[in-house]
Each structure stands twice: as structure tokens, then as C-alpha cells.
Amino acid sequence: MPDFAPVIGLEVHVQLNTATKMFCACPNRFGDPPNTNVCPVCLGLPGALPVPNAAAIEAAVKAALYLNCSVSSFSKFDRKNYFYPDLPKAYQISQYDLPIGTRGSLEIEVSGTTRRIGITRIHLEEDAGKLVHAPGASLVDLNRAGTPLLEIVSAPEIFSPEEAYAYLSSLRLLMLYLGISNCNMEEGSLRCDANISLRPAGSSTLGTKVEIKNLNSFKGVQKALAFEIKRQSSLLATGTPIVQETRLYDAATDKTLSMRSKEEAHDYRYFPDPDLVPMTFSPEYLARLRDNLPETPQHRAQRFVSAFGLSQYDATVLTSDPALASYFEDTIAAGASPKLAANWIANNLLSALHQTSTSIGACKIRPPQLAALINLVETGTLSSTSAKTVVFPAVFEKGIDPNAVVAEMGLAQVSDTTQIDQWVVDAIRANPDVLDSLRKGKVKAVAKLVGSVMQMSRGKANAALVSQRIAAILKDMHGIEISG
């Protein structure tokens, strides 16, 4: 079979998390009872008129700037005309020839190699409603109709399913950093369609393009593209031409199925929406937005390495979610040592969040509490073991002050040398056989003394200090050297 190389382009729709919809004052909220967040405008009632949401326009411009797009001073809304029951006006207000942003780019990393993927355009539009299929009837829910939607179209510069996955992860992270979308694929606030064509390896002409829809997860995108590469390769290998069409991905069978061919494709008859006036962006406005863009995830990771001495790995983990990165910085600001904070967050906190399916935002242990816990261990007040096994789970569950847990459960560690020395002397006296064993070179017998001290202290003795004092007392009082 000859070698074919895929050329992939991705079309991503990101729902903006503005308080209200794109062209009316209805709440922009997911999960409410059907047709409750609606008004004459988003129901497309005769005579109702759209008024653009300034916050959505600003979010779109910020996204365009963040993705290195050029944003021209003039942009407008157009109507995309087609009939469908979830589209109450029978046209979608979208953008055609003058999108908010053009010619941007996005950096991705696959197996250690960094590549820049071009972004052809970013435009703003309104979402359609949803069809709910009931037995014997199809119902229309227009709560989603009019939700502000950003469409981000990549250049056909993605060359493998893995790169497609990386592109989506990177894009999602940037949108999360901007804070303009929840990027939740299950709730549909991030959606993706893929275009893929194959060409003989080394060739520069593009093959026939197939569009894949119904991609419900990043993994799904990767798998659907892998399936298409196999399907199209075997067709091409036998000389069968590829049909230009739209295919649906079925996650259950991990296959794509033909939906409609190009002959049935729409003529959307785009034209400028006469109900809306063009948008103009002054150089001052654009400069102000540009100056206030958040740090990129890459920059933030770099800063974590250089400013806090974190490993590249920890820095990447902590910046993989802007809320997590902020949590980390807040923990440091609350007085924790950066390296310890990074360890606690990257290991204990993340695995607890994962196990309980909690988001960092909903996490009950807040940065000041985590900082307090870290400091209890660092000052020796609390043993690292008690901290991990008793105090952290309690604070994580209830969001209470770690000091209170330590006090209430009597977990404060004894680091008082005089007290520890007393326990060590008592332990030696109670276990005379240990001295004999030690003199015979059986160094492991020390463990019995440690155990005895811990028993006497009911586990509260500072373990490191106990070992240190046993060695000192054995040497000073009994002439036994156990170091080494």
C-alpha cells in the first residue's frame, strides 16, 4: 500500500460564558428547563430585533488577539440563511467576509517537538437551539438559541490525529486562560468538526476533503481521524476516488458514516445583516485589550521554573489549568514554600480532586489552608505522615482550618529534646537486650527503641528527632556508634 499523508483542518466552536445571550438579555445558562431562557428576540418572533452583546464582542476580540490574529478596525455581522427547526429565524447571525480575526497561530507540542499551526479566521455568531427527539415527535428547546459562539478555523496544517489532539488541548487551554468559555465538551460549550484529505506522501497538492461531524471528545477527534486515514488510504490504494462529503463519527463503533454529499450542500446566501450596524474597533481599544491579555500558559510555566525553581514537569502540570496555576500562586502568597506547595498540589491535591471528581474551583481546601498545612509540617509541628493521612483528608472534605484539626485530634508532634531524651533513656532501660544486640553489630535492633519511644509518646514524637537522639544517647552513654 503506498504511503498517504493526511492534511487536517479543525473548525472549533467555543460558547462564550457571558452573562447574557449574543443579541438579547436572556440568561446564557446551561441546564435549565426547556424554553425558559427565551424572549421575542431569541425566539425569532416577527418584529423582534437583535442588539449585540458588547461583552461577547470584547471576548471575541480578546480571543483573536490572544491567538495572534490580526484584528481589523472594521467588522460586521452577516446572515447565514438555511431552514432547520432549531433555527427560529431561519438564518443564523454570523460573520462572512469580515470576521473579527484573521491569520493567527497557535503553538502545539507533540512528542517533544513544537509546531505552529495557522489559524485562518475567528468569527462571532449565535448558537442554534436544540432538538429533543421524543417517541413520535421532535421537540425544540430554544434555551441555547442565541448563545454567543466563537468559531475558530485552523489552517489545513495539522498532519496527524495526535497533532489534532494537541491543537485542541492547546486551544482549550488558551480559552480557559482567557476565561471566556467553560470549554466543557459534555455540555457542548466546546465543539469540533474536522476536515481531512489524504495525498501521496511528499506531494503538495491537496486531495479530496471529507468533513467529520459529531465529534464529542478530543479522544473522539483523534480516533475518528485515525479511522478516516485508514478508510481513505485503503480506497486510494485500490484507485477508488474519495467522495467529497460530510461523515458522522459514531463513538460506539469507532467508525465514520456518510451523512450527505456535496450535491446536497447548502447555498447559505450570506449577506450583511441589515438589523445590525458594523463594529468598529479603534487602535486605542485594541491596544488596551492587547495590553491586558493574560499571560500565556507557556509563559506562566516558564515563570514557575525561573521564579520558584520548579521542575519543568511540575510547572507544566500546574499551568495545565489556569485555576490550578492561580491556586498554586495563591498558596505561595499565603506563605507556603513554592517547592512544597508544588508537591502538595501536583500530588496530593490533584489525586484527591480526581478521586472525588471535584474541580479546583469547587475544592474546599483553599490556598491559605493548604499553606497552613504545609507550614505545620515544615516547622515540625505535624508529622508528614499525619499531615497526609489524617489532616489533609479532613481539611479536603470539610474545608476547615488545619490547625483546628491538629488541635482537636491531638496530632501536634513533640519536638522537645528534653522530653524525647527522657523517652529514649526509658526505652533503653526497658529493653536491655537491645544494647547486647547492638554491641554484636545488629544495627537493626535500634528499631525496637524507636518503636518503644513512639509507643510512649503515643505516636507524637518527631520521628526524625527520635532517631537523632537515640544515636546521640547510645554514643554518649553507652559508647555504641550506630551511624552509617
Binding site: P40, P46, G47, A48, L49, F83, A90, R269, D275, V277
Partner: protein
Amino acid sequence: METVREWLNALRTGECSARDAVTTALERIRTVDPQLQAVIAIDPERALAQADTIDRQRAGGEDPGPLAGLPIGIKDVICEKDVECTCASQILKGYRPPYDATVITMLRRAGAIPVARLNMDEFAMGSSTDHSAFAITRNPWDTNRIPGGSSGGSAAAVAARMLPCALGSDTGGSIRQPAALCGVTGLKPTYGRVSRYGLVAYASSLDQIGPLALTVEDIALLLPHLAGHDPHDATSANLPVPNYPAALFQDLRGVRLGVPKEYFIAGLDPAVETAVRSALHLFARNGADCVEISLPHTEYAIATYYIIATAEASSNLARYDGIHYGWRAPESTTLDEVYSHTRRRGFGEEVIRRIILGTYVLSSGYYDAYYLKALKVRTLIRQDFTRAFDTVDAIVTPTSPTPAFALGEKLNDPLQMYLSDIFTVSVNLAGIPGLSVPCGFSPDGLPIGLQILAKPFDEMMLLRVGHAWQQLTDFHLRRPPVCATSFSRPTTHA
């Protein structure tokens, strides 16, 4: 009580309560409308309830608003909450909007009482009001003739003195042309002056709501309660609203009137030309300075208008698909059938013709040759006016090339019907305001209208020139043969 001023005087002095006013208007409608069919629907209970509220407010010493108790007719294209709004179309039969248009809210706040829904060409598409799915409205001056359109119901109702005033909408002349043909006064305000929120769209970049009444003075009394910025309409202008009635105190001296040579063309009815020419003489004799001007792109206006208006209409009317509201063809089973049967049977021929035209001019492969070119010509037409207003204060033209034509005369000749808009469409393309006032009668006794145009947002100039004209003439006060006040005295209980 015929003019708005007379009605308001009677209401203010207590000679007539708001209930009397509504009762009188309803009685006049019952008397005269069977001959004219200007009214699609009335809701006496609702109107009387509002009237009683106003009477109670007045009795309690509250100010019920400057238009308190004034009955007004509403073209059936403007939404009133819970009142059936059909746009004279089968496809919206039974549709009751859940909200008020901004103009309705403003009028109610001023105390005006909407009493009747008025007939029109279906979806405001037509110049005759015989393209209504429900009834053919007749001209009060000759019931064998059309009243003009598309606001024919509004013009006929005012001309026949059923109502002192009405709202119409004007996309290519739909207020001015029926006003001219029925012998009443009608204003199309500047695009953006009056909110379009709640006006069922025909062509969004051209549509504008405006008042029809007997006199320019009445228009000046109504306009402050229609004009102004509306945050619900992104195309509405955020400009202060002038004190319109102040325009009535200025005369014609020093006013420069432009007369475009392109408007005196072959096909212009001689009676219309004579009436307009004598109007110009009268203006000149009373201190105005009349000069010939040129609007060189006039000949392209009709073609440009029918491309832009139909393109926008094809999109605006796509929502009537039988899914969400209005009428649905009952026998449809598949989704495609719901769409095609509902739209094929729900729309009338003229509406279907314009939807197809508009779909065509926006189609891929034709867009540049038609729609894009039309947008460019529209800019040229707008520039014609901008240039003209560098040298003149107002422009004076005939409103319509002919007086009212016979019922059904142009029903099967759409091109002929389109040409009756020849003097009015440029105004919508340019977005400027236009006023039509009665200026004479044809030998058959049919009214003739004079159109006065001004620069954007200079409605003051239109009212000034129009009112001065009506101080010099009495065409606007003549009653048609079918006229409510000719048969019966208004019912008033002092």
C-alpha cells in the same frame, strides 16, 4: 371632531371622555368600514378598558398623557401584546405577539388608544392594498379604486374620518403613496428616527414606521410620541428629539426648494404634473425660492430598490416556516413538506414572487451582479441627495405618478405596480425623511399628493414646508364621498 387637534381639544376640555372617543371611533368604523374594508380587526373591550383607565386618571387629577384618549389605528404589521397580528397574511393567521412594539409602548404612555388593526398589502408588499389575504380595501374617493399601499387601510381609515390618525410603515413609499391617493397627510421619518422594534420586517434597511393624519399639524403632534432612541433597535439613532410643533410657527420665507428634473417624466399623469407645478408657483409666491436640481441616479432607483428589498425580504420572511408559530399546512407529514406546503399556501402570490426574486439575487453566482451592484447604486443615490441638500433645504416632487388606479388594474402586471413607487423608493434607499400632503384633485375628483423631502433627521423642515402649504390651501380638509362625519354627528356626552 376630525383632526387630531380637534379630538385632543374635545378630550382636554372634557367635552368628550376617553370612553366617548373610543365609542365614537368604533361607531364610525361600524358605519363606514363595510364600504371600505380598511379595518382587519377591532377589540372594543380592550380599547374601552384603556379608555376607562384614562378617564379614571383624569378624574383623579392625574395627567393621563398628552395624547390621552386619542383613538389611533395600527397597521396590522406592528405588534401589540396579545392582539392578533397577521400582516394581512394567511401564514400569520391567529398569531398573537407576546410583546408590544416600542411605538405602541410610547403611544400608550402618551395616552393614545389603539382601537383598530388596519389592512395592508400582505407583509407590506404592494402599492394597492389588494394584495391582502383577507379583504380588498377601497379608496373613499372612489370605491372602485385602490387606496394605494401598502398602508392602504391606514390611509383609507383616516381619509374617511373613521379615525383621526393611524400608524403605517413605509419601505418604498407605503405611507406616502396611499396618503397621496387617499388625500391625507403621511410622514415617513428618517431611517433610525422611529424604532422598528415590533415592526414585522419586510426590508430591514428600508422599513420605517410613520404617522398618517389629516394635517401636518396633527403629524407634528404625534411625532414626538413616536421618535427617539430605542436600545432595542441597533439601527435607531441616538439623537435628541426636536420640539416638532415648533416647526409650525415658521413660514416659507427664505426656504430653498429643489425641484428634481428627473421626476417630471413621460408617464407622469398631466393632472399630477399640473397640480405639482401650481404648488411650486404658490410656494414661490409665498417667499420660497424654487430651483431646478438634478438627482442623476433616479432612473436606477426602482431596480435597486427591488433587488435590495426582495433580498432582505427573502431572509426576513424565511422564519414563517410553520414550525414555531402562525399557520401550518395541516396535511404535511415530513419536515420538507411542512416547509413547502406551509409557505406555498400560506403566502400570497406577490409575497412568493418577491421571496423568489430575493433568493435569486443573493444566490451564489448572482450576488455580485445583483445584490452587490445594487448596494453600490444605493450609495450613488444617497450621494445624489447629499449633494442636492448642499444647495436646497427641501425637495418637492409628485408623490405618485398617477392618482388612484382601478381595483385589480395592476394585479397581474407587477412591473406596472412597481412603477407607481418610482418617486418614493429613492427616499428609502437614501434613508431621508419624506412627507406627502394633498395638493389637488384630478378631473375625476381623485386626490393628488405632493412629496416633500429633507435631509436626514430634518423632519422639522418637512413640517415647516408642509404646514405652510396647508395654511395656503384646503385640499387636506376636503371630505371624500365615503366619510364618517358626513353621515352622523359624533356621539359626545359632555
